[in-house]
Amino acid sequence: MADGNGHEPRIVAFLCRWCSYAGADLAGTSRIKYPPNIIPIRVPCSGRVDPAWVMEAFARGADGVFIGGCHPGDCHYVSGNYKARRRVTLLRKLLPQLGIDPRRLRLEWISATEGKRFAEVVTEFVEELKELGPMRAEEAAQDVR
């Protein structure tokens, strides 16, 4: 059931406006194609991303959650990305306890100049999520009414 045949994963992406969102803009300006499975939400900084949003997205059936921040040392707000990294580290420890594969949560550093990389990373994430199959199925197998 969870083999993911024909499954189109749904991804919510929290992109920091200075680096990753701008990187995604550059992918657009450069017309680099990637799959349409991702819905971006612009945030000022990856440090703004509240772990509760991630939990909310999974609870609402997201197959994947993507957080894009500035490279280490490049955070427009100095160190928000470091907080994001540590929160993701702990979330990825918590998710398996809830029966959610930690690979469904992805944190990537993407700079404003890395349009190509943004497209590549999204493409790769979509492929990975297709292999993992639908979130609902995985979760249903575990628990939840």
Partner: protein, 672 residues
């Protein structure tokens, strides 16, 4: 439970207008814009939805304004390009008809959708979803007013090359105080090292030194040489700067430039100004017209100051200008604007081992400038470093390290075509019976008078241009053998040369990463140059407000371009410094004191020191940059970020994951 922040719950029911832009073919060619508008018109809270060819055009903005008035809209979503393009445009337009600008948002269906997806259903669905998420955001947005901030009327210029000099002079002339910080003992930068400048062949120092002197004498400019910016913190209009000034051990006011000190100095080290082609003492002056006009004692090469080992210089200094007790100074300043003119370095010749970089007669272009210069180590006579002979054949290799994405730098260094032509010409003028051979890939001469200059060099001065790369340079006895290829004739070429000049790539100077970090200039570009806010429209600005860039710090530039940028950045800085007040974004964090327990999780996270905690946390809205890191960390939900509250994002997530709109089949039927 009583509603959170009751005064901030929107009193009115949402009446949101959605405007879907075709952007000509850019969006409409991929996304079914009519259907996006139609779907959004049915979305809760939306009372008006339409599509239009170019929302950013004047008629587009008029349409927006008319709809706001006619439909009494209290929120707007423009589904168009990235907010970095036209958010300001649409917010301004809304403001003109008294809709608070912060109730206007852009849904990015161009860069994040139509430009990256193939035409069809999936792209249209994604555009609908993106637009719905923004409608959800607007539903939670509050009308806000920008915060007014005062600012310092002072400008910091980092780097005393020609771009920094020009910027400093222009800002100072406008009547504002300038602090010009230069790492080395003199201003002038690389331009001071040049012999003559293309294409007019003006003497570089002759046109530069008057400007240097002007800097020194200008009452509004405080010049700090031997100094580096250690830290910059703060925000637009209010930056705090910490500068570390190394001691020169010579009082510039007392030094009379007699030069006796250098004569008795037992130390001989390569002179950086002459790129190692001459030697200097530990106490020295980089070049006679240096500004400030004084000798400098270089602590690193001196036999020892603390404790004093030698002290001979002080013994012979008649005016008693030498003071071994000088110590490092930390200078703290507050400035309103910063101009970064940190210039460039040359890529090291060592990176090209195939060209025998260790051979003394294989030199870089600045070394050749010094050989050409009347103030250089050979007094302008061209003599090769190994044996002082006049070289009869000189080979110039262009694109040495440039335009080589596999092994070296991918970019064009922009200035090498022109200075190499100049080098060849000046050589031919100095050694009329000599041969000058230039290996090139392409010749790029787009400046005023540049193309004509190249022709002059080729035709009048009979410089031989060979189109092709050089594979190898190696020594054979007295000669350097250059193996190359002439790609026009397909022939292998072998030249016996006396001197080889490598037109090395222009690279960012060392230390620029550290500077970028302290400034939080999000991202140097992929080559390490400072990144401008927009490559075409904001070339002099960075993403940090009030921090501007000029000259080769941003990428390779010739003198006229560097000067232009220096003046341009100065104009930007003057515009900022002359504004009566600045405005600060109101989209910052705030505390609900009814909820805050004073747990102090937030305060240590703030890089701006904007949070203080007594009984409860307090946010200084002038210092807060609105990153929201504290908000995400606040365990009790007492902190919120204006117009990006948790409840807004949760609604956006819900909209992002809601079932796709049911029009899918209808379209498929129509399409089939």
């Amino acid at each position: 439970m009583p509603p959170r922040n009751p005064e901030r719950i929107r009193a009115q029911k949402p009446r949101i207008g959605v405007f879907v832009c075709h952007c000509g073919h850019n969006i409409a060619g991929v996304v079914d814009v009519k259907r996006v508008a139609e779907q959004l018109s049915k979305y809760p809270g939306v009372v008006y939805a339409t599509d239009y060819e170019y929302m950013c055009s004047d008629p587009g903005q008029e349409l927006l304004k008319k709809a706001i008035r006619e439909h009494r809209l209290n929120g707007v979503v423009v589904a168009a390009c990235s907010p970095s393009m036209h958010e300001a445009t649409f917010r301004r337009a809304a403001g003109e008809v008294d809709l608070n600008p912060y109730l206007v948002e852009c849904a990015n269906i161009r860069e994040h959708c139509s430009w990256v997806h193939d035409p069809g259903e999936a792209a249209t669905q994604k555009a609908i979803t993106i637009t719905r998420t923004m409608v959800e955001k607007v539903k939670g947005n509050m009308p806000l007013e920008p915060v007014e901030v005062s600012h310092k009327e002072k400008c910091l210029v980092v780097g005393g090359g020609i771009a920094g000099i020009q910027a400093a002079l222009d800002v100072a002339e406008a009547g504002y105080e300038v602090i010009l910080v230069e790492k080395s003992p003199t201003i002038g930068g690389h331009m001071a090292q040049l012999s003559e400048t293309f294409p007019t062949l003006d003497c570089s120092q002759c046109i530069l030194t008057p400007k240097m002197v002007e800097v020194e004498r200008h009452p509004k400019i405080r010049l700090l040489v031997n100094s580096e910016v250690e830290e910059i913190s703060g925000f637009i209009g209010n930056y705090r700067v910490r500068i570390r000034k190394k001691p020169s051990y010579v009082d510039p006011d007392l030094c009379n430039l007699c030069g006796e000190c250098e004569k008795v100095c037992p130390v001989r080290v390569p002179n950086e100004f002459d790129r190692g082609l001459s030697e200097r003492g530990a106490i020295y002056i980089p070049f006679p017209q240096a500004v400030p006009s004084t000798y400098t004692l270089d602590e690193e090469t001196c036999l020892g100051i603390k404790p004093l080992i030698c002290g001979k210089c002080a013994e012979v200094c008649e005016p008693g200008a030498i003071d071994f007790d000088m110590s490092e100074e930390i200078i703290e300043e507050e400035v309103g604007a910063v101009i970064l003119a940190t210039g460039y370095d040359l890529y090291e010749t060592k990176a090209l081992p195939e060209y025998s970089p260790d051979d003394p007669d294989v030199i870089d272009p600045l070394q050749f400038e010094r050989l050409l210069s009347a103030t250089g180590p050979t007094r302008g006579e061209i003599r090769r470093p190994s044996d002082g002979k006049v070289p009869k054949t000189v080979v110039f290799i262009k694109c040495a390290g440039s335009r080589d994405p596999e092994l070296h730098k991918p970019y064009c260094s922009a200035i090498c075509c022109m200075y190499t032509a100049k080098h060849a010409l000046l050589y031919k003028h100095a050694v009329p019976d000599g041969r000058a051979i230039v290996f090139y890939i392409d010749i790029r001469a787009p400046g005023k008078g540049y193309e004509e200059f190249i022709h002059r060099v080729m035709e009048e001065d009979r410089v031989l241009y060979i189109r092709g790369k050089v594979a190898k340079v190696f020594r054979e006895g007295d000669k350097l053998i250059v193996w190359g290829v002439d790609t026009l004739s397909g022939q292998r070429v072998e030249v016996e040369a006396d001197l080889v000049v490598l037109a090395m790539a222009v690279v960012p100077p060392k230390g620029v990463e550290d500077l970028a970090r302290t400034l939080r200039l999000s991202c140097l570009d992929e080559n390490g140059f400072l990144k401008e806010a927009h490559p075409k429209l904001r070339p002099l600005e960075t993403l940090a407000g009030g921090i501007f860039i000029a000259g080769a710090a941003q990428g390779p530039k010739d003198i006229p371009q560097a000067v232009t940028q220096g003046s341009g950045a100065a104009a930007k800085a003057i515009a900022l410094l002359s504004a009566p007040t600045l405005t600060h974004s109101p989209e910052v964090a705030e505390v609900d004191e009814e909820l805050c327990s004073g747990c102090r999780v937030c305060a240590p996270l703030c890089p701006y020191g904007a949070i203080t905690v007594e009984e409860t946390a307090q946010v200084n809205e002038l210092l807060c940059e609105g990153c929201g890191t504290c908000v995400a960390a606040c365990p009790s939900g007492a902190l919120s970020l204006r117009n990006l509250e948790d409840s807004q994002v949760e609604s956006m997530v819900e909209a992002a994951l809601a079932e796709l709109s049911p029009a899918r089949e209808a379209v498929e039927v129509k399409g089939g």
